[in-house]
Point group: C2
Chain length 312, copies 2
DNA sequence: CACCACCATAAGAAAAAGTTATGGAAGACA
DNA sequence: TGTCTTCCATAACTTTTTCTTATGGTGGTG
């Protein structure tokens, strides 16, 4: 059976008006158009839908029963339309985020603030390592990714939205802990506890040392920056971590930031998505929200004089 | 929102295949046609429905939610299609009959036999007087009418399907009851108990007498032939009624048929409907059934020698 | 009985949908 | 890494469908 939605609307209009002419008027079309559509519909159905009485037109049993389905279908379309308006008006909408594990130290604030402004957003948050992030982007599993170093790939669009300073940390008892203006070369003699080889932080650090013609001495590898902090506090060596991840340890004076020359390594957090990605209203709103408000929302410890923190 | 059923089908096909090309194949159309329809649908909706990933195509949230409605609507259409097949296949169907009160003496047999062959028919039976019958036809309230004398009107189509002999009845005690070959003129002197003036039977009887240049002496008027029979049995006069209405009274010898010259007045029962009426399967089947089987089904007392009945 | 309202039909115009041809971008595979 | 293939987008053109205008028939109405 091959009927159209317009034909069903015409059916409804005729039953309401009991007149082809009036139905045509109410649908802003001419009467012959109505006649023809009904004729065609009757051909499709294989049965008459209306009795033409001269005086008025009355639906046959078939017509009456078909009307029921026409009404149901219109109902469905109206609901679909409402659904769309809800999504457009951001009364509703999903947002799937994936972020680097280190971003986990500040991103929840961001999400919380966003959620306050757009309470209808249903946010899903995945935390993953770099590989997982790239997979999520590749397979279009996620709307957006928050990560340190987006791949330089034309398929991927990454926009920096906030600084991500990497600092050298040491246990307060470490010999260098109280020193100021430590030359980079001196630090390079120390043992470093580092992230795994394909981690964003690790890559950034190695590039940084290479740029200064130095070799990083990597003692232990850990796949969580949480573990690195623990190791550094246990005096197993120095660490280089994102400043955002050590807020509490600084406050409790369990870690010191070393005042090393050329530090911090200034990186950025990026909001990253597939280049062609077409966002619904809520994800689009999140992207804009982050780009506009991240700096205000994320409390960054002043890192120009990190050693001042230990002196207070 | 102005989308089409075809567009919804395309949406479903793409979500199933995750490919425009494959969807196009499954719908027996070309890929550009699919592209264009989706493009247009996205324009209507105001939001993207699919992400083009290069590798495969994935529905957006909007696309996924719209799919739900598309499926519902298809479901409705399938049900409508089934409904139509049921009506066409006569697995179901209404039949609205209206009949003259005098037809009530034989019509139930007819309906019973029809119902046995088409058990799915939902029959509605109204009994009415001549005026009611004509109104029902005029207002298209009924599918068909069974009556004695259909109006000679091009809007109305009436087909005779069985004889309807009108006979003169008398109480067995009436002086004429045992006579044979009673001249019409002699009967015309008697008092007749008749139906109301616009009754079909009454009109037929008056025409008959007028044709023979006789005047009918009408004593009492009754609006039920049942009442006429009672009056005749009570010896209030003679009556002229349809043979079909007195089967029981004859069997019980409570009434005699007078052997009057030129009697019975031979009329026919007609099956009558609006000229343009387009029947569904069940009403059409009933019409054919009546025209083919009525004569076999209705037990007609032999009326060529009605007096023989009283002699047995 | 004439007029009016309403539906059917035909012819032509307009709109929509579809097809073929082609381009660009991305994945696959050597 | 480059070639090949696949897939979607786009454009030009064709076909199909739908709509409009014009007109005729029929029945209701004053």
């Amino acid at each position: 059976m091959n009927i159209t939605l317009k034909q069903l609307s015409i059916l409804e209009a005729i039953v309401e008006k009991l007149s082809y002419t009036e139905a045509a008027k109410s649908l802003f079309m001419t009467q012959p158009a109505v006649s023809m559509q009904i004729k065609q519909m009757e051909l499709q159905v294989g049965m008459p839908l209306f009795d033409r009485d001269g005086k008025r037109v009355t639906p046959t049993q078939t017509g009456t029963e078909l009307l029921y389905y026409a009404q149901n279908i219109r109902q469905q379309l109206e609901e679909a339309s409402e659904m769309i308006e809800e999504l457009k008006g951001m009364k509703r909408g999903k947002l799937h985020l994936t972020m680097a594990s280190t971003a986990n130290y500040f991103a929840p604030q961001l999400i919380a603030a966003f959620h306050q402004e757009f309470p209808a957003a249903q946010v899903t948050l995945d935390v993953s390592n770099r590989r997982g992030l790239l997979d999520a982007l590749d397979n279009n599993i996620t709307d957006m990714v928050i990560m340190g170093r987006p791949p330089q790939n034309k398929k991927i669009n990454g926009i920096p939205f906030i600084d991500n300073p990497l600092v050298v940390i040491a246990a307060p008892s470490h010999p260098l802990a109280k020193r100021e203006h430590i030359p980079l070369a001196e630090v390079a003699d120390e043992h470093f506890i580092v992230r795994e080889a394909d981690s964003g932080t690790r890559i950034a650090v190695e590039r940084f040392f290479a740029k200064h013609d130095l070799q990083l001495i990597t003692g232990m590898e850990m796949n969580r920056s949480e573990a690195i902090k623990q190791a550094v506090m246990a005096e197993l060596g120095l660490g280089i971590v994102s400043l955002h991840t050590i807020e509490m340890e600084l406050a409790l004076k369990r870690l010191n930031i070393l005042n090393v020359e050329d530090f911090p390594i200034m990186r950025q957090w990026h909001i990253v998505h597939r280049t062609g990605k077409r966002f619904a209203a809520i994800p689009e709103a999140f992207k804009n929200f982050v780009l506009q408000h991240a700096k205000e929302l994320i409390d960054i410890t002043p890192i120009n004089n990190p050693s001042s923190m230990e002196n207070t």
